[in-house]
Assembly symmetry: C2
Homo-oligomer: 145 residues x 2
């Protein structure tokens, strides 16, 4: 399988594991020292256990039938390093309505370690309006965004 | 110069160019198709011209004597790809007070193109409080953050 296909599989596996609420499976592709900037506080989560805990705290707020949509996925790979960025949202898979905060910006760094690609860094965010300092959510993407 | 030293130089050059308000110099290390997720809207800036325009819009709001502080800089390099993440803030270089919104989380992807490292992706953000949906600024970092 090509490096590109392997990274795509990690992206697909992440979605499938999250939508199945299977955090053991979700964590299989994370490096022990992953550094995570989440859309909500704290400023950073250091390590796989902290990454997992952030999802454990989030799961009760997510719809029972969970789906994930990705747009504009861009993957760059060289040597043992890969960089992906995209727009992503969680949805209620039954109603197709947005769950949580709508679209977020996602950046993920992957590093091949002992032959296996692992997530070493993840950055998820929503911009804020500088006048109101409110998070500037987007629930529907248009061509301009 | 090692790859690590070259990436460190790009980080230093970015700071020096911004603090000198020299956008021509700032843009020298950006790929034409850089994709930028900024801390404020829009959701994404596509291309070097849009990245530059975002700084042109920002400069009038920054103190005359501008400084930049970085913490917890982490660089991973393999082949022609490099990934950096850190915490960063702009300051008034005279008073040492925080400018703008305090500390932000920064992720930068670099790609070597025709022998030169170029920024292909940059993601800057502040988390938001999920209860109030207000941006959760941090003006002083503590050991816990």
């Amino acid at each position: 399988m090509s490096d590109q296909a392997q990274i795509q599989k990690l992206i697909d596996d992440w979605r499938d594991a999250l939508c199945a609420r299977d955090l053991d499976r979700l964590m299989q592709n994370y490096a022990p020292d992953v550094l995570f900037f989440d859309a909500v506080p704290p400023y950073q989560h250091q390590g796989a256990a902290a990454y997992r805990a952030s999802w454990e705290a989030m799961l009760p707020y997510l719809p029972p039938q969970l789906g994930s949509e990705l747009r504009e996925v861009d993957i760059t790979i060289s040597g043992d390093l890969a960089l992906m960025h995209c727009l992503q949202r969680l949805i209620n898979a039954e109603t197709k309505e947005a769950a949580t905060c709508g679209w977020v910006r996602v950046t993920v760094g992957y590093h091949r370690q002992q032959g296996n690609w692992r997530v070493i860094h993840e950055h998820v965010s929503v911009p804020f309006d500088p006048v109101t300092t409110q998070a500037a959510f987007i629930h529907e993407l248009t061509a301009a965004e």
